[in-house]
Symmetry: C2
Subunit: 157 residues, 2 copies
Amino acid sequence: MQTDPDFSLDEVDRQILAELQQDGRMTNVELARRVGLSAPPCLRRVRRLEEEGIIRGYHAELDPVALGYEITFFALVGLESQKEAVLSAFEGMVREWPEVRECHMIRGGGDFLLRLVARDTAHENALTSRLTAAPEVARVQTLQTIRTAKDAAGVPV
Amino acid sequence: MQTDPDFSLDEVDRQILAELQQDGRMTNVELARRVGLSAPPCLRRVRRLEEEGIIRGYHAELDPVALGYEITFFALVGLESQKEAVLSAFEGMVREWPEVRECHMIRGGGDFLLRLVARDTAHENALTSRLTAAPEVARVQTLQTIRTAKDAAGVPV
DNA sequence: GCTGAAAAGCATCGCCT
DNA sequence: AGGCGATGCTTTTCAGC
């Protein structure tokens, strides 16, 4: 399950990855047909890509609004300190918040960029307050999404 | 394929969504076992969730590094104008850039938050330059990701 | 809306090239 | 490495509750 830097992907592997990124539930028979292989070697390649960790998993993409999350927003959070213990503690905290979907440490010292979901503006405000009130948090700037022109999970293949 | 606001999800539906968000290739038999149904009604529910647009699709999650994308970064882009034609033109442009994975318009006027991937720092600099040089772009602030503590696609279920 | 059986299709294995 | 054929599951439909 570890990415092997010595492992090289050929053109067929890349085609397989592109197809499965677009439709993760495609049957192996259909996938094999598209990449021009018979089913067994195609399945062997998929299994190898999974074992190498190049395919990390398969996920259904759900509609946030249908699940009650009307709002997606981002937060730029600055901490009081750049000590590793403080940074790790903050990361550990937001990892436990289900509404925090992503947490990226930003170059420049003690800053994080978070992506969050909220049911409504009251929920969003509550989350922002909880962030502001959290230990070692110096400042919180929220970036509210008005509309999303592109939202492609994954990477170009 | 449209989300119906009148459509309500019961507890079993939510369980199905949670399971498929976590493992999108789970067999219907296994899914049915986990939610306490036999296979046919479970499959009918999944089909309905797909038709309602609550399940938008299924995707393999790929390792960006294995595909040659070492860097994920964000860019805050400010435009010269808030005219709708200018905003749409910018969105149309970045939609065509494969390295731009997300483009969100931010409340406050003429700003966008982009998530991008790059093969290396040279590629990242080239992308930033292309953004800066694009029509109607007033300013670009890049937020480079040092490390990612959490990266959960999807929503809490 | 669920169950259970049955047909068709798929995943997967061993062996061969 | 890829392909062929066989086997056991899975999916999917359909009748009946």
